[in-house]
Every structure is written in C-alpha cells, then in structure tokens.
C-alpha cells in the first residue's frame, strides 16, 4: 500500500475502533418501493426491490443520474421512509439494533469544530466516548497529525478522510457510502479507494457503496447491483481476486461485460 494512511496503520499498529464490536451486519431489503407525489401526480422511483447482503460484503449500487440510487441509500440510511416494504439489518448473533455509519458525497463537517470535535459530535448517545475514540479513528485514516485542525485547514481528500473516520468511529455494522470520492481529483480518489479497501479488509464491515463509476465499482466491490427503470436489473458477482489491477486483462474483460450489462437496460 503506497498511501500515508496505510503506512500509519501498519507501522503504528493502531487499535481500531471496531476490534471489540459485533463486526459486520447483514442487510435485508424486502419488497421495497418508493413513490413521490409531484405536481403531475405520483411518480414511482422503484418498486418491489429485494436484496440480501451478507455480513462483511462490499456491495456497490450502480446507476445513472436519476435512477433512484440516492433515494434507495436514503431509505437504507433511515433518512427517508419507504412507500412500501422495509429494510432490516442483523448481526450474525441475531441482534437487529445495528449501528449505521454514513459517508457522504461531500464530507459534511462542522467548519467551526476541529477534526476530533467533528467526530465527538456524532457520539451523543455513546456514554463510553472519549477523545481517544476520535483520535484512534483519525489514526486509522492517516490523520494523526491533524487532530486539532479545522476542516478549512485540510485538503479535500483529508476532509473526506475525516468523514470516513467519523463514520468508522461509531463502530458501525454497516457502512453506507454515497459517492464519497466523486468530488475529488482522480489521484486522491484512487488513493482513498485503496485505503478504504485496506480498512475494510481489516475492520470486517459491510459496505453499501453508491456510485455511477463502473471502474470504481469493479475495483471496490464483491457484488454490483445495477438500478434502473425502477428495478434491480442486474446483480453481478465480481469474480476478480484482490488486489485488482485495473490494467489486467481480467479486469478489462469483466469491465466490458459489466458495461454491456449496464447499457442493456436501454435496449
């Protein structure tokens, strides 16, 4: 791993926030449907969606703009109510009270709070919170030197890392990510993808990752769900071994297959 973040973790053997947790949870999307009332009448975004995601899986939801992928993520995030159906989360122990971690397209940090305080903000209901939790999470994403910095003093990539650290600090059973790298330059985004995979492989979290970028989806995910015209029209298992080289024949071949499938919805 070439990134600063990976170096920090490997060299300092940071105590990760999820080490003593229940680990990853499964996601069960059952008969999910969503409609919106508009001036022209009722508009259906999607209906009768059924997805089961195993604990510890990295799943991408891929769709074009307006396909409803953000709406689905908002429902899974419990920010929006579904019109029909439901979403269930479950730890392997059977426990259904699963903590969700959220990473957004823009980091959504409080500009008047330091990195540590931004993380502390989301721990309102955690009686065991100390600043050590925030610091360990920041260590995890390679920001050990930036505990007391304000978001305005960080680069775009560093701000997004704080967003990831904030989500991980809650020790989530499921990590929900909404196009988290789409606002970054390609080099920074590429580094963060590698670092995210590194964290995921060590923390054992289920990741539900929304993107419109096929290459990103293939690089990151075990499974790719394609959303369009109100339904999941493709559910692809990613056969590529990790680490994945984007210039390998297997990668390019699978990418072509996925792209063909992606465009098949318009045929």
């Amino acid at each position: 791993m070439s990134s600063d973040m990976a170096k920090t973790d490997n060299e300092n053997a940071v105590n990760l926030p999820g080490e003593e947790s229940g680990g990853a949870a499964s996601i069960h999307i059952e008969n999910l449907g969503k409609t919106f009332d508009t001036a022209e009448g009722t508009e259906e975004v999607f209906s009768d969606i059924n997805i089961d995601i195993e604990p510890g899986t990295f799943v991408c939801l891929l769709g074009k703009s307006g396909s409803g992928k953000s709406t689905m993520l908002n429902i899974v995030s419990e920010v929006l109510e579904p019109t029909e159906g439901r979403v269930r989360f479950e730890y392997p122990s059977g426990e259904e009270d699963v903590t969700l971690g959220h990473v957004f397209q823009d980091p959504r940090l409080l500009p008047w709070n330091t990195c540590v305080n931004n993380i502390e903000y989301v721990h309102e209901n955690n009686p065991n919170y100390t600043d050590e939790v925030a610091k360990r999470s920041l260590d995890l994403v390679g920001l050990s030197e930036h505990y007391d910095k304000y978001p305005t003093q960080l680069s775009g990539g560093q701000r997004q890392r704080v967003g990831i650290a904030r989500a991980l600090s809650t020790d989530p059973g499921v990590l929900l990510m909404d196009e988290p790298f789409s606002n970054l330059d390609e080099i920074t985004a590429e580094n963060l993808r590698e670092e995210l995979l590194d964290i995921w492989s060590r923390l054992n979290k289920t990741v539900f990752f929304v993107t419109h970028d096929m290459t990103e989806a293939i690089q990151l995910c075990d499974r790719i769900l394609m959303l369009g015209k109100g339904r999941i029209y493709a559910d692809l298992e990613n056969p590529l071994e990790r680490p994945r080289r984007m210039d390998s024949d297997e990668f390019l071949k699978f990418r072509q297959k996925a792209v063909d499938k992606f465009h098949s919805i318009e045929d």
Binding site: S77, E78, V79, L100, H102, F104, D106, R108, L110, P111, W112, N113, Y121, V122, E124, N125, Y150, P151, T152, Q153, T170
Partner: protein, 269 residues
C-alpha cells in the same frame, strides 16, 4: 503579485495593517470634522481639539462618570433584553415555519413603530424608573436582532442537518452545536447593530424619562444653548462605544471565528 509590488509604499502600508487602516479612517473623519468646524460658527460646531478638551473637563470634574454609568447600565440591560428576545424569536422563526408565520407580523410591527413612540409610552407607564428606557430599548431593538438571527438560521447548510439526522443527533444538540454556530456571523452582526441602536434609544428615552444619563445631559446642554457641551457628551460616549467594539466585541468575534482561515478572517476583521 507583481501589481501589488508596484503600488506606492504608503498605500501598501495602509492596506496591509488593520490598525493602520482604522487609524487612517479615524484621521479622515477628524479632518472632515475640522473642515466643517471652519465653516460653521464655533458655538454650533467646535473644533475637535476643543471638544476633546471640554470632554476631558467633564471627566475631571466628576460629572461624566455617573451619567455615562447610568446610560451604559440602561444600554446594557436594553441590549441584553433585546438580544435574548431577538435571538429566541429569530431561532424559532428560522427552524419552524409555524413560528415564522406567527411572529412575522410582530417583527414587522416592531420595525415600523418609531423609537420615540416607545420612549413616550414607556415613560407614561414606568415614569422615571430605569424600566422606561430599558423597555423602550428592548421593544425598538429586538425586531432588528430577530430578523438578523432568523436569516442566519435560514442560511444553515441543509446537508449538515441531514448529516446530523443520519447520526441521530437530538434537536437540542443540533441547536447548540450546529444551528447557533452556523448563525454566529449573523448573531455578531445583530449584536453589534443591537448595541448601536440600544444606546441611541436609551439616549432618546433619557430625554423624556430620566434625571441622569448622557441623553439627559445632552438635552440640558441644548436647553441652555451649550451646543459645544452636547458635542463633548456625544464624543465621550463615542469613545466608550469604540472601546466596547475593539476591547470586547472584536476579541470575542476573533475567538469565535478562529476556525476560519486567516485569509478568510481578514475579510471580516
């Protein structure tokens, strides 16, 4: 940049140093005062140094402090009352549509009633008690504070609210950690504005309903045609207000907005 290096050194110094800029501004003001004093009769508009001399005389004679203290005390309570009422209304109006519709007529009415009307009414109700100028100040100033705070809260980034909801943050914590800090620039603007209005209203109210204070002394000076003394009282209070601005408000503001980048802060500093 190449262009800034080519500028005149004196201009560069004025631009580069905040205190130099403030001093330069004050000097220009004093020069304008001096120029006007040469045009108007001396008993109507004395020169700046004559005014300062007279003001110093008021301080030395012991007359200045009790009157300044009384006015400051009334201004302080008026400012506190209007800030509490204005901030509470502004926050409610910003976060709740029902409150916004409910309180908007009161704020609009409050903005349209002249300060002198409140001063007259409170004098009738409270007589020469401290309540008359304080209540008149609260009633006149709170709508300005409320409107500023309301707009500040409305300015809140919706994505931050959505983030807070995603992490199940309570409304109370959101108010304290998100809404109020987000509205802080507007709060400071309204506090500064509120303080400036408060002291003007107190002065007006003191003309009607007090036997002490800067307003009362200004009226007294006017009645005996001592306009230069009126200038001296006004100058004393201006010095006090400038002291509050640069000695209290600015340092607090600088501390609160510490998170802003230096270059960004320079825009408001």
């Amino acid at each position: 940049m190449a262009t800034s290096n080519r500028g005149l050194p004196a201009i560069s110094l004025i631009k580069s140093n905040t205190w130099t800029a403030r001093l330069f501004g004050l000097l220009i003001g004093l020069a304008a005062w001096f120029a006007l004093a040469t045009v108007f009769p001396n008993d109507l508009m004395p020169y700046p140094y004559e005014t300062i001399e007279l003001a110093w005389g008021l301080v030395e004679s012991g007359v200045a402090w009790p009157n300044l203290r009384d006015t400051l005390l009334r201004t302080f309570w008026g400012f506190i009352g209007s800030s509490l009422l204005g901030v509470a209304l502004g926050v409610f109006m910003g976060i709740n549509n029902y409150s916004q519709r409910f309180f908007t007529p009161y704020v609009v009415i409050g903005l349209s009633v002249p300060a002198i009307a409140w001063a007259a009414v409170t004098t009738i109700v409270y007589g020469f008690s401290i309540m008359a100028p304080v209540v008149a100040t609260v009633l006149t100033t709170f709508p300005y504070v409320a409107i500023n705070v309301w707009k500040g809260v409305e300015n809140l980034e919706p994505n931050l609210i959505n983030m807070s909801r995603s992490f199940n943050i309570s409304r109370r914590r959101m108010l304290r950690r998100l809404i109020i800090p987000s509205a802080a620039p507007f709060l400071f603007s309204s506090f500064r504005f509120g303080l400036a209005i408060s002291w003007k209203i107190v002065t007006i109210a003191e003309i009607f309903a007090a036997s002490s204070g800067v307003g009362y002394k200004l009226m007294q000076s006017y009645q005996v045609y001592k306009f230069e003394e009126a200038w001296a009282w006004a100058s004393l209070f201006i010095i006090v207000i400038l002291g509050i601005e640069y000695g209290i408000i600015k340092p607090i503001e600088r501390r609160v907005f510490e998170y802003r980048h230096d270059a960004d802060f320079a825009l408001i500093g």
